[in-house]
C-alpha cells in the first residue's frame, strides 16, 4: 500500500476519534491542576530546520511550457498500439482540458524510443542520452498532478501553491525559513534560457507577502549577471570604495542623533553591495573551471546564456551557499510537432542537466544538494492537431536527484494510456511538502501571517511522500 493511501486512512481514523472528543473527556479540571497546566511551556518557538535536513540547497531545473512526459519519462506502448484511435471516453470525461476543448481525443503514440538504463532500469527516452547515463541517480515521478491547465496560473501554482499572484514562491519560503547561507549573494536566484516567445510570469519567483529579500533575484547568463552590478562608467573600484566609505561614515554621524537601527542595516547593506560587485562577476567567471568540466557542460570560459552555462553557474552558486537556484528553460509548449520540439529542447538541456548531476556527485555535493527537473504540468496522451499534445493536469513527469532522494527509484504509475495516475498520485502540494521535508522543514510549521491568516506554501494540503525519500 502506498504511503499516501495509508496516510488518508490514518487521517480518517483520527477524525473519527476527534468527533467523539467532547463526550469522552467531559470531566473538568481541578483548579490547582488548571493552574499548573497553564504554566507549562508551550512548544519552543519555531525555528528551522525543524529536524536534520538531508538537503542544504535546491537546484530546480524548471522546464517551462509543460514538457511532454510521453517523449521523456513515461513510455506508453498502449498509445503506440492504439495510435490514432479514440481514447476511452471514461478517461477524459469531466477533465478540464485547454485546447482539446475543441478537438476529438485520439491516442498519440510516440516513436522516440525508450531505454531501460543503469542498474535501476529507469525507463528514459532516447532523446535524453545524457540523463540516461545518470539514470541511477534519479527518482522519477510519473504521476505529477496539478490544478491548473494554463501556463500562467500553472506556473504560479507550481511555484507558490496557489494560482493567483501574490503568494510567496517555494524559493522565497525556503529563503525565509532557512535564511541565507551565502556571505554576499542572495539566497534565491533565478536564471532563464531557452527560446523567446512565451514569457514566464515573474510571479513564479515573487516573494509575495514575505519580506523583499526573499524574492528570487534574476541573474543573467552573462559576465554581468545582475542589474546595476557595474559601477557607472568612469567610476573605478577605488572611487566606488571611497564613496561607500564616505556614505557609511556620514551615516554613522547621523546615527548618533537619529538613533535609527535601520542605519546600521543600511551601512551593512552598502558593504554587502560593494562585495557583490566583485563576488557576482567572479561567480560568472568560468576561467577557473577545468577544460574537462567546461566541456562536460558544453560551455566556454564565459557564461553564454545557454542552459548548460546556467547549469555550471548553478553549481558555482551552490558552492557559494545560495539556497535555492531555479533555472528556467522555456519552449516546452508543444501543441504541434511535439517530437520535433522535445528533440530540440532535449538537445539544449540534456547535456547540462546530466553534467550538473555528475559534477555535483563527483564533488560530493550531490549528498546535500537536491536537484529537481520538471515543468508546470504534463501533456495529454491524446494528440492535438495530429502531431502535438495539449496541456494536461492529470499526469506529468518530474525527477528529483541528490540529497535524501531515493536514487534509482520511481514513484507513481499512470494508467495504460498515461492519462491519470493508477497508483500514487503526486500532487503539487505533495511535491512542496516533500521538498520542504528534504530541507528539514515541516511544511505545516513554515507559516507567515498575512491578512490575518497563517499562510503556508502547502495551503491546507500536502503530504510528505516517504517513498521518494532515501
Amino acid at each position: 500500500m502506498s504511503s499516501q493511501k495509508m496516510n488518508s486512512i490514518f487521517t480518517r481514523m483520527r477524525d473519527v476519534t476527534r468527533r467523539h472528543f467532547f463526550s469522552s473527556t467531559a470531566t473538568g479540571l481541578g483548579a490547582a491542576a488548571l493552574h499548573s497546566l497553564l504554566a507549562r511551556d508551550a512548544a519552543a518557538a519555531t525555528t528551522f530546520p525543524n529536524f536534520a535536513p538531508k538537503a542544504k540547497r535546491v537546484i530546480y531545473l524548471y522546464m517551462a511550457g509543460g514538457p511532454s512526459q510521453f517523449e521523456t519519462f513515461d513510455d506508453k506502448p498502449m498509445l503506440r498500439k492504439l495510435h490514432g484511435q479514440p481514447i476511452p471516453k471514461s478517461l477524459t470525461e469531466g477533465v478540464k482540458l485547454a485546447f482539446l476543448q475543441y478537438e476529438a481525443h485520439k491516442c498519440f503514440g510516440t516513436d522516440v524510443g525508450f531505454k531501460k538504463c543503469g542498474q535501476s532500469g529507469q525507463n528514459i527516452s532516447n532523446l535524453l542520452p545524457n540523463l540516461q547515463n545518470v539514470a541511477d541517480e534519479l527518482c522519477v515521478v510519473r504521476t505529477l498532478m496539478t490544478d491548473q491547465v494554463n501556463h500562467d496560473p500553472a506556473h504560479t501554482f507550481m511555484n507558490t501553491g496557489f494560482s493567483i499572484a501574490g503568494r510567496p514562491s517555494m524559493g522565497s519560503w525556503v529563503s525565509y525559513g532557512l535564511g541565507n547561507d551565502s556571505q554576499n549573494l542572495p539566497s534565491f536566484v533565478v536564471m532563464r534560457s531557452g527560446p523567446e516567445g512565451q514569457p514566464i510570469p515573474t510571479t513564479a519567483w515573487h516573494n509575495g507577502f514575505l519580506p523583499g529579500k526573499h524574492q528570487g533575484v534574476e541573474f543573467y547568463g552573462s559576465e554581468q549577471p545582475l542589474n546595476y552590478l557595474q559601477s557607472p562608467a568612469g567610476i573605478g573600484r577605488k572611487t566606488q570604495s571611497d564613496t561607500i566609505d564616505a556614505i557609511n561614515e556620514l551615516n554613522r554621524f547621523y546615527q548618533q542623533t537619529a538613533h535609527d537601527k535601520e542605519i546600521t542595516t543600511r551601512i551593512n547593506q552598502y558593504e554587502l553591495a560593494f562585495q557583490m560587485q566583485t563576488s557576482v562577476p567572479e561567480l560568472a567567471d568560468f576561467s577557473s573551471e577545468s577544460l574537462t568540466t567546461r566541456e562536460s557542460y558544453g560551455v566556454g570560459d564565459k557564461p553564454d546564456g545557454s542552459f548548460g552555462s546556467n547549469c555550471l553557474m548553478a553549481r558555482r552558486m551552490a558552492e557559494r551557499g545560495i539556497r535555492f537556484i531555479q533555472l528556467y528553460h522555456t519552449g516546452w509548449d508543444h501543441h504541434g510537432q511535439v517530437v520535433k520540439g522535445v528533440t530540440s529542447r532535449a538537445k539544449e538541456t540534456d547535456q547540462g542537466a546530466a553534467a550538473l548531476i555528475a559534477d555535483l556527485k563527483q564533488r560530493g555535493m550531490l549528498d546535500d544538494t537536491l536537484v529537481i527537473w520538471g515543468g508546470e504540468f504534463g501533456r495529454t496522451p491524446m494528440s492535438q492537431g495530429g502531431s502535438g499534445r495539449d496541456h494536461h493536469t492529470k499526469s506529468g513527469a518530474l525527477f528529483m536527484a541528490g540529497a535524501g532522494v531515493n536514487a534509482g527509484a520511481s514513484y507513481g504509475e499512470t494508467d495504460d494510456f498515461g492519462f491519470a495516475p493508477s497508483i500514487d498520485p503526486f500532487h503539487v502540494h505533495d511535491f512542496h511538502a516533500t521538498v520542504l521535508h528534504l530541507l528539514g522543514i515541516n511544511h505545516k510549521r513554515l507559516t507567515y501571517r498575512f491578512k490575518g491568516f497563517d499562510f503556508r506554501l502547502t495551503n491546507v494540503h500536502g503530504h510528505v511522500i516517504k517513498d521518494i525519500l532515501a
Partner: protein
C-alpha cells in the same frame, strides 16, 4: 488522559503577558481573546459549516456555552469546568487542542488569558470594525467644553500617555517638520527657501499657510494618488503572461484630478465603481469607471472562457474587499471564511455585482482590451463622435434588422456565395485597405481625404526629392496571413491604385506591407517589407529607420510612364521573405513617395475568387465583434468565420454561425447602406485613432449569471444562482426595484456600510501621516486583523470623516495639525513599535519619492500643470525585458523606448508600470507589482537598493546635474560648495565633521580624475541632460562623486 497531570502540579507559574492591559485584569474579548481563538480554533470550530469539527462552534457565545450533554465548551465564570480549557491543557496528543498535527500552539500566557476570561464571565464582543459607528467621548471633556479638531486627536493620545505613564518626545525641528510635511503631502522634499522661511516664523498660522499652499499643488494630488493606485492595482498592462498595455492612462489622470479637486470620497468611489451607471454619464465618469476594467486579464489560448469569467469576478470581490471594506473577501471563494462571518454565498453574491460588465474571459493577445471610450481633445470632435456612433448604430440595425427578405432570396445568395467560395478558376481583387481607411488603430502621417467622381482617395504631396510616407495599421478589415492566400506566383499580387499628377510627377512611389503577431503591428524593422518604383532621390530608403531596413527594400521597376490612374502591383514571386523563419500576419500598409502629387485609392490583393471571397466576407464578423470583447477562439478566427459558416451545411451550423450568415446576407443585400456605413465607420475610426482611448465599464443588456460554486470550481453546476448582495452580516441593500447593481453597492458603502468604510479609510490615512496604522493590518480590518491601538480615536476619526461629507483634505488638515504630528521621531526604548505615538513615525521613503527627491536635488524634476495621460520610460537596464524573454512576440507596445525628451524627468509615479516587470529600481524599493491590491507597501533595506542608488544611471545623472548646480553657485570655496550641496539635498548645513569627510573625498577624487581624464569624461557623459561645454570634466566628475554620496545617505532616503 489525566494520568500525566501531576507532573505539572509543581510547575511554577511564570507568565509573560501578551497585553499589558490584560495583565492588569481587564480582559477584552476582541482585543485579547478573539485573536487567540481565531488563530487556533476557528479554522475547525468557526463559521465554515462544511469544515466544522465535532459540531462545535466557538466563534459565537451561544454556541460555545451550549450544553453538549452534561458539559460545555465554555462554562462562563468557571474555567476549570470548561472543556475548552481541558482540551488546550491536555497532554494526551489524542485529545489536545489544537491537535498536534495542526502545528498550532497556544502559549502559556494565552492559556492564562483564556482561563481568566472565562472566569470573568466569558463575555463576547462584536468585532470593532463592524459595530455601528458612534462618536466616542473625547478624553478630558466636560459638559460645558468640547474639544474639537486636532486637539481632540491629541487628547486621545495624551490620555493614553497618562495611563501608561509615557512622556512624549520634544517637538521636531522646524526643518524636520517641513521635510516631514512636504514628503507626506507631496512626496517631495521642501525647497531650501520653504525651510528657511518656516525657520524664521515657525508659528502655527505660518505652518497652516504652508500646508494649505502645498495642498493646492498638483504634486499633492499626485502623491496622494499613489496610494490609491496601489490599492486599486492600477497598471499600464493586463497582468498575465502576455502582459500588454491596457488603455488606463486617462483613469490614472482622473484619480489625480479627483484628489486635486478634493472630490468627496463617496463620490470618488461611486464614480469608479459605477461611473457608467450614474445618470447622464460624462467623459469623466466613464473614465473613472475604468476601475472595473483594470483587472488582470488572461489571453492564453487554452484558457476556458467560463472559468476565466469567474476569475474576473474574483478580482472584483477581492478588490472591493480590500479597497473599501478591509475584508479578505477573497478567502470565501472555495469555502466559508474561516475567521470572518463571510460565507461562500456572500462571496458569489458580491461577485454578481459585476455580472453586467461587458467583458470577455479570454482575450486575444495584442488586441486592446475593450470597450473603449474615446476622449477627444476638442469638444467638437467629441460631439461628432457621438453623432457618428449613433448613426452607425442606426444603420447597423437598419441593415441587420431587415428581416423582409424571403427565404428563397437568402438561399439564392448563399448558393451564389458558396459557388464563389469554391471558384478556383476566376480571379478578383480583394480591396483590403479601401481608399477610405477602415477603422485603423494606427495612423502615421497625414493625408487629405477627397472624393472625385464618386471615388474616394487620399491625396498626398511631397516637395521634389523629399520623402513622404503615410501608414495605416490594425484595421477593421482584419489582418491577413498573405502567404496562405497564394495560388499563383505571378497572378497573386499586392496592389495599389494610384493617380499621378502629370504636372507634378513623383520621383518614386512605393508601398510597404507592415506585419505583426496576433494582428497588431510589431516594432521590429523585420516587420516591414518595402517595394518601390522609380528612384528614391531623397535617399531615405537606403538608411535604417525604426520602420524600414534597407535590406528589406526592393525596387520593382521604373515609375509607370503614364500619368492619371495606374495600378502598381507586386506579384508574390517578388515578395521579400520573412526573417528568421518567423512570418507574421500583414497588419497594415504604408504608402510612400518621393516628390510629386498623387492620390491613393484602394490597396489590397489580386487573388483567386475563392480566396478573395472568403476574405471579403470577413467584414461582417469583424464588424460584429469590433471593439466588443469576445472569446479569443472565436474572435481570432473572425476573418474566416463567415466563409466557414457558409461552407458548413445549414442544418449543422451553430446558432452563432446561423446568426452571422444572416447578418452577412443582410449586409451584402444592402450595398448602398453598407457603403454609407463603411464611410461613417471610416470617419469615426480615423477620428478616434487621434483620440485618447480609455478602457471603461459598460453595462450589458444581457447579464452574466453567477452560481454559488462548490470549492470554487466553475464546472460545478449544482449550486444555486445568486443575486448581487453585500455580505449578509453587514446588512442588505435595499434596491428600489430589480437587481442591485454597482451603483447600489457604491451607495451602500457610504450609507449602511459607512461605519466600516470610514474606519478602513481613516486607519490608512493615519498610517500615511504617522507611520503606522492605528490597526496595523491596513488590508484586514476583520477579526484576524490587528486590534487598534486607539480604538476610540479611530472611531472618532471615522465619525469626523463621515460627518465632514467624506472630505479627505479636511482629514489631512486635521491629521497634520496635531501636536503629535509635529513631534520628533527619535525612538523611545519603551515603545519601539510606536503604538502610543509619543513620537512621530520614521520610515524609508517610497520608491517614487526617492527618485523624485534625487531629481529635485538636481533641479531636473519636471513638474507641469498637465497631468500626463501616458506613462514614460525612464532609463532601464539594457534588455531588461527582451533579454529575459519577458515580452510576447511582436508586441509593438512593449519595446522599452527610453523617453528621450523632458518626459524622462517626469515624476516616478508616471513610470510605465508593467505588472510582470516593473522597473527594477522601483521593485528594489518595494513598489508593488500591482497584480493584487496593496494597502501597505513593504519597507525593506537591501543591498539591491544600494546597487540601484549607486549605479542606476537615473541617479548618476541626477548626481552629475546636481554637481553642475553646485559648481555654478557663486560660492568661493569648496566648503561653501559643500554647504550648497547639503542645502540642495537635505535643506540644511553640514556639520564640521561632515564637511571634513566630504572635503577629503573631494580631494581624493580630484586627484584620481586628474590622472584619468577619460574616466571623468565617461562619468559626466551619463544621462541625456546636457553638460555645459566650458565645464572642467575632472572637476565635475569629482563633484559628481560628492553629490552621489549625498543622494545615497540614509537621511536623504528617510522621512522622520
Amino acid at each position: 488522559m489525566h494520568s500525566n497531570r501531576h507532573f505539572f502540579v509543581v510547575a511554577i507559574v511564570c507568565l509573560c503577558h501578551a497585553s499589558p492591559l490584560a495583565a492588569q485584569g481587564d480582559i477584552q474579548f476582541n482585543r485579547d481573546i478573539r485573536p487567540i481563538l481565531s488563530q487556533n480554533c476557528f479554522y475547525c470550530h468557526g463559521l465554515d459549516q462544511n469544515h466544522r469539527e465535532a459540531g462545535l462552534r466557538l466563534d459565537t457565545r451561544d454556541a460555545a456555552i451550549e450544553d453538549l450533554g452534561g458539559y460545555q465548551a465554555i462554562v462562563p465564570g468557571n474555567a476549570s469546568e470548561s472543556e475548552l480549557l481541558v482540551r488546550i491543557l491536555s497532554d494526551d496528543p489524542d485529545t489536545l487542542m489544537p491537535p498536534p498535527e495542526s502545528e498550532r500552539t497556544i502559549t502559556p500566557a494565552q492559556r492564562e488569558l483564556i482561563a481568566r476570561w472565562i472566569d470573568q464571565g466569558a463575555e463576547y464582543q462584536d468585532h470593532w470594525a463592524w459595530q455601528n459607528l458612534e462618536l466616542p467621548k473625547v478624553p478630558g471633556t466636560i459638559k460645558s467644553q468640547t474639544i474639537e479638531g486636532a486637539a481632540a486627536i491629541d487628547a486621545f493620545l495624551q490620555q493614553r500617555w497618562a495611563d501608561e505613564d509615557v512622556k512624549p518626545v520634544s517637538p521636531a525641528s522646524a526643518r524636520e517638520q517641513m521635510r516631514r510635511l512636504s514628503f507626506d503631502l507631496r512626496g517631495l522634499p521642501p525647497t531650501l527657501k520653504e525651510v528657511t522661511d518656516f525657520q524664521a516664523d515657525p508659528s502655527q498660522s505660518h505652518y497652516a499657510e504652508i500646508r494649505d499652499r502645498w495642498m493646492n499643488e498638483l504634486a499633492y494630488a499626485e502623491h496622494q494618488a499613489v496610494r490609491w493606485l496601489d490599492l486599486v492595482r492600477w497598471a499600464d498592462t493586463s497582468g498575465f503572461v502576455s502582459d500588454e498595455p491596457i488603455a488606463s492612462g486617462a483613469y490614472r489622470a482622473w484619480i489625480i484630478k479627483a484628489y486635486a479637486n478634493n472630490m468627496p470620497f463617496d463620490q470618488f468611489s461611486r464614480m469608479q465603481l459605477a461611473g457608467d451607471l450614474i445618470e447622464n454619464p460624462t467623459d469623466d465618469s466613464l473614465v473613472a469607471s475604468g476601475y472595473n476594467r483594470i483587472v488582470n486579464t488572461n489571453c492564453e489560448a487554452g484558457a476556458i472562457e467560463e472559468e476565466q469569467l469567474y476569475k474576473l469576478k474574483g478580482e472584483h470581490v477581492r478588490a472591493v474587499g480590500t479597497v473599501w471594506m478591509g475584508l479578505t473577501t477573497g478567502c470565501a471563494e472555495c469555502h466559508d471564511h474561516k475567521f470572518d462571518p463571510i460565507s461562500a454565498k456572500d462571496y458569489y453574491s458580491l461577485a454578481a455585482f459585476w455580472d453586467d460588465l461587458v467583458e470577455a474571459g479570454v482575450y486575444t493577445p495584442g488586441d486592446r482590451r475593450v470597450p473603449l471610450h474615446y476622449v477627444h481633445d476638442d469638444s467638437a470632435d467629441s460631439a461628432r463622435d457621438a453623432v457618428l456612433t449613433a448613426e452607425i448604430s442606426a444603420f447597423k440595425s437598419q441593415i441587420i434588422g431587415d428581416i423582409s427578405a424571403a427565404d428563397a432570396e437568402v438561399l439564392q445568395w448563399e448558393q451564389e456565395t458558396i459557388a464563389k467560395l469554391k471558384d478556383k478558376e476566376t480571379r478578383v481583387d480583394f480591396a483590403w485597405i479601401p481608399a477610405q481607411l477602415p477603422g485603423p488603430r494606427v495612423v502615421e502621417g497625414e493625408f487629405d481625404s477627397i472624393k472625385i467622381d464618386d471615388t474616394f482617395a487620399r491625396e498626398t504631396r511631397a516637395d521634389a526629392n523629399s520623402f513622404y510616407r503615410h501608414h495605416a495599421s490594425d484595421l477593421m478589415t482584419g489582418y491577413i496571413y498573405e502567404r496562405s492566400q497564394k495560388t499563383d506566383a505571378e497572378k497573386d499580387a499586392w496592389f495599389v491604385d494610384v493617380w499621378i499628377d502629370r504636372d507634378d510627377r513623383p520621383q518614386m512611389l512605393g508601398i510597404q506591407v507592415s506585419h505583426g503577431d496576433y494582428g497588431r503591428l510589431g516594432w521590429k524593422t523585420a516587420n516591414y517589407e518595402t517595394y518601390l518604383w522609380g528612384e528614391d532621390t531623397s535617399g531615405t530608403l537606403v538608411q535604417s529607420h525604426s520602420w524600414s531596413d534597407p535590406e528589406r527594400v526592393k525596387r520593382i521597376g521604373d515609375l509607370p510612364s503614364e500619368s492619371g490612374w495606374v495600378r502598381l502591383r507586386v506579384p508574390s514571386s517578388q515578395w521579400i521573405s520573412p526573417v528568421g523563419g518567423q512570418s507574421f500576419e500583414a497588419t497594415g500598409m504604408a504608402w510612400l513617395q518621393t516628390g510629386g502629387h498623387v492620390r491613393w485609392a484602394d490597396s489590397g490583393m489580386e487573388l483567386r475568387t475563392d480566396k478573395a471571397t472568403a476574405l471579403q466576407l470577413g467584414e461582417t464578423a469583424i464588424r460584429k465583434w469590433y471593439e466588443t470583447p469576445w472569446n479569443r477562439q472565436v474572435y481570432q478566427s473572425r476573418l474566416e468565420y463567415v466563409s466557414k459558416a457558409l461552407l458548413t451545411k445549414s442544418d449543422q451550423r451553430s446558432d452563432l454561425q446561423r446568426e452571422i450568415v444572416r447578418e452577412a446576407f443582410c449586409e451584402q443585400s444592402h450595398p448602398e447602406l453598407l457603403d454609407r456605413l463603411r464611410s461613417l465607420e471610416s470617419e469615426l475610426y480615423v477620428r478616434r485613432s487621434q483620440a485618447m482611448p480609455v478602457l471603461v465599464s459598460r453595462s450589458s443588456s444581457q447579464r452574466k449569471t453567477t452560481r454559488l460554486l462548490g470549492r470554487g470550481d466553475f464546472s460545478d453546476k449544482t449550486g444555486p444562482l445568486v443575486e448581487s448582495a453585500v455580505p449578509e452580516f453587514l446588512g442588505a441593500i435595499e434596491a428600489d426595484a430589480g437587481v442591485a447593481n454597482r451603483l447600489h453597492l457604491a451607495n451602500w458603502l457610504f450609507d449602511q456600510g459607512a461605519s466600516l468604510t470610514a474606519r478602513v479609510y481613516v486607519n490608512r490615512l493615519w498610517h500615511q501621516f504617522y507611520g503606522r496604522g492605528l490597526s496595523e493590518t491596513l488590508e484586514d480590518s476583520g477579526t484576524q486583523g490587528d486590534w487598534p491601538s486607539h480604538l476610540d480615536l479611530l472611531n472618532w476619526l471615522a465619525v469626523e470623516f463621515r460627518d465632514s461629507g467624506w472630505n479627505r483634505d479636511h482629514m489631512v488638515r486635521l491629521l497634520t495639525s496635531t501636536t503629535a504630528y509635529r513631534l520628533s521621531s527619535v525612538p523611545q526604548s519603551s515603545d519601539p513599535g510606536n503604538r502610543l505615538h509619543a513620537r512621530q513615525g520614521r520610515f524609508r521613503l517610497p520608491a517614487e519619492a526617492i527618485r523624485d527627491s534625487a531629481l529635485t536635488a538636481a533641479g531636473l524634476l519636471m513638474q507641469t500643470s498637465d497631468i500626463p495621460l501616458e506613462s514614460f520610460y525612464p532609463y532601464q537596464p539594457l534588455n531588461y525585458w527582451e533579454r529575459s524573454s519577458k515580452v510576447m512576440f511582436g508586441s509593438r507596445h512593449l519595446d522599452w523606448n527610453t523617453s528621450r525628451t523632458a518626459s524622462q524627468y517626469h515624476r516616478s509615479m508616471y513610470t510605465f508600470w508593467k505588472r510582470q516587470n516593473i522597473h527594477p529600481t522601483m521593485l528594489a524599493f518595494d513598489a508593488p507589482t500591482r497584480q493584487e491590491c496593496t494597502a501597505k507597501r513593504n519597507i525593506t533595506n537591501t543591498p539591491g537598493q544600494a546597487l540601484a542608488l549607486l549605479n542606476d544611471p537615473m541617479f548618476v545623472e541626477a548626481a552629475r546635474v546636481m554637481a553642475i548646480r553646485i559648481m555654478q553657485t557663486d560660492a568661493s570655496s569648496d566648503q561653501e560648495r559643500i554647504d550648497s550641496a547639503y542645502r540642495f539635498a537635505l535643506q540644511r548645513k553640514p556639520s564640521a565633521r561632515e564637511t571634513t569627510t566630504l572635503l577629503s573625498l573631494l580631494d581624493q577624487q580630484r586627484e584620481l580624475f586628474g590622472r584619468q581624464t577619460d574616466a571623468a569624461v565617461s562619468l559626466i557623459s551619463i544621462g541625456q541632460s546636457p553638460t555645459p561645454d566650458d565645464i572642467d570634466a575632472c572637476e565635475l566628475a569629482a563633484w559628481t562623486v560628492l553629490a552621489r554620496t549625498l543622494l545615497n545617505l540614509h537621511e536623504f532616503l528617510n522621512r522622520s
